[in-house]
Amino acid sequence: MQISVEVVFKALADPTRRGIFERLTRDGEQTVHALTQAGSVSQPMVSKHLAALKRARLVRDRRRGRETHYRAQPEALSPLFDWMTHYATFWKGRFDRLEDLLKRMDP
């Protein structure tokens, strides 16, 4: 199932969440513990942010022993690119129609 662009936008709207996502993208898989140590946010808050990122499919988790490991799923960003592509197609079509209209407006 495709996640809507709105869900992805909202998940990344929060600067802390975006920071976590960027860190996972840059540094690879991390535990909640490691992510908490790296930032200034409490562990329950980090877990909450990770849950929001997971709902948007921006991260995946896997349990190993007592720790849950998270990693980024950058392909989840694709709805954003789809959305931009949608508008590119939309405006090109409208430009064509505008050109037709301008021709008809000529005396």
């Binding site: 809507s4 709207a13 993208t25 960003l77 505008l98 301008l102």
Partner: protein, 138 residues
């Protein structure tokens, strides 16, 4: 990081004078012919809607507000749809053969009314960050 990567730009030269292109961009019945039904008025601050045929999961409505009106030169309005807000800027430049028309849609960001933390976060910054993330993949 350039502006182009953070926004959508379409440019086309039209063999018609800016005054004529301006009419097509700012007169409601003319806008309807090429873009969408609307209650647009070329008045800064005017709130209006573009209305198209509803489709599944979309009511067909774009909520907008006029931001800039510089006759025959520049027109800008916000473009809110599905809880996402962006800004559309039209620029008209007179050329020898007519008008160079440029459309830029940018500043994709979450709707101000969406009640969640970080709603005011600039989407341009976000797209910039996104670009870094994506280039990091390669």
């Amino acid at each position: 990081m350039t502006t182009a990567t953070r926004s959508l730009v379409i440019e086309r030269e039209m063999p018609h004078p800016p005054e004529q292109v301006w009419r097509a961009l700012t007169e409601g019945p003319l806008i309807k012919e090429w873009l969408m039904d609307n209650d647009f008025q070329p008045v800064v601050g005017h709130s209006f809607q573009f209305r198209s045929t509803p489709v599944p999961n979309w009511n067909g409505i774009i909520d907008s507000q006029v931001i800039v009106v510089e006759p025959n030169k520049k027109l800008s309005y916000s473009w809110g749809s599905l809880g996402l807000e962006s800004v559309v800027v039209w620029t008209l430049v007179a050329t020898e053969g007519g008008t160079l028309l440029r459309m830029e849609q940018s500043g994709f960001r979450a709707d101000q009314e969406a009640a969640y933390k970080g709603a005011n976060y600039g989407w341009q910054n976000f797209i910039g960050g996104l670009e870094r993330v994506v280039s990091g993949l390669e």
